[in-house]
């Protein structure tokens, strides 16, 4: 079973990398960019075939390693 996990910074957590990208887009002439926030994207292949069990496994992985829930949110999607 294939899943994707997106990890994004929580609202209010400063994202200097996103700000730098936003600045670069502006200086390249891309007008109208209100803001850029950078995140992380993971493709994970699991042996598990049961959707519910796979989701539980992925949630545990996110809570314990893939995301730092002090500063980040995560979303799980199945391909």
């Amino acid at each position: 079973m294939k899943a994707t996990v997106k990890v994004t910074l929580k609202n209010g957590v400063l994202d200097p990398q996103g700000k730098a990208i936003e600045g670069a887009l502006g200086s390249m002439g891309f007008d109208g960019v209100n803001s850029v926030r950078q995140g992380k994207y993971f493709e994970i292949e699991l042996v598990e075939t049961d959707h519910g069990k796979a989701e539980a496994q992925l949630m545990s992985m996110c809570e314990k390693l893939i995301a730092n829930t002090v500063i980040e949110n995560y979303t799980i999607e199945f391909a």
Partner: protein
């Protein structure tokens, strides 16, 4: 003062810390590889600086899940003293031994220079030989030292005297909240700091200003 220094792949300040502990406390620390599951019998564990696992995923994230960390966590609950410096601070914070998180420097640049630290709490086991309000120069060398936590945690840290060191006014190198350079846990036995006191203890370092930190360990 029996101590152990935890060695992770990518750590590079373990020998600086070894020399500092050995020279000032008179005891040679154990060097403990991260795959070990049990600590030797020690009073103090130091998690040194460097770039464990190349900062992959998040700084300190992978090292924080190493086998040796379980034993450190268990013994921390029984009063074991733990000091995390730089990447070590990031590692023990990722491991949940300290609240909050260390994120990318606000200015995006890796900062490597001396800054002045203000001793905010001189009742800890690394500051007992200092006075409250002392200003000591100390090197920093990090790209992700920007300490953040939620408003409630910050209020607790401030209210409970758990901010051990602050960057002197106007010298915050990374954008850390309230100029925080080092904090301790609620029991006081776990301390994390971004600056490198082990690199300011010999005349050749340019100053011996951070020796009192290691002398405090001896008195602890």
């Amino acid at each position: 003062m029996k101590s152990a220094i935890i060695h992770f792949p990518g750590i590079n300040r373990e020998h600086d810390m070894f020399m500092a502990l050995e020279n000032i406390t008179g005891f040679s620390p154990h060097l403990v590889w991260h795959t070990q599951t049990t600590l030797p019998d020690v009073d103090l564990v130091v998690v040194p600086g460097g770039f464990s696992y190349g900062d992959y995923l998040r700084c300190g994230a992978i090292a924080a899940r190493s086998p040796i960390m379980s034993d450190i966590k268990t013994k921390t609950l029984k009063g074991l003293k733990v000091l995390g410096v730089c990447n070590g601070f990031q590692i023990i914070t990722e491991a949940g031994l300290l609240p909050g998180a260390l994120v990318r420097n606000a200015g995006l640049k890796f900062v490597c220079r001396n800054v002045d630290l203000v001793v905010e709490n001189n009742t800890t086991w690394i500051t007992s030989k200092m006075r409250k309000g002392d200003v000591i120069p100390c090197p920093v060398a990090h790209g992700e030292g920007n300490y953040i936590c939620d408003a409630e945690t910050l209020k607790r840290l401030e209210g409970e005297g758990r901010i051990v060191f602050r960057y002197a006014k106007g010298q915050n190198p990374n954008g850390a909240m309230n100029d925080i350079a080092g904090i301790c846990n609620d029991a006081g036995n776990v301390i994390g700091m971004m600056p490198h006191p082990e690199n300011m203890i010999e005349p050749l370092h340019g100053s011996t200003a951070c020796r009192p930190l290691f002398e405090s360990l001896l008195a602890a």
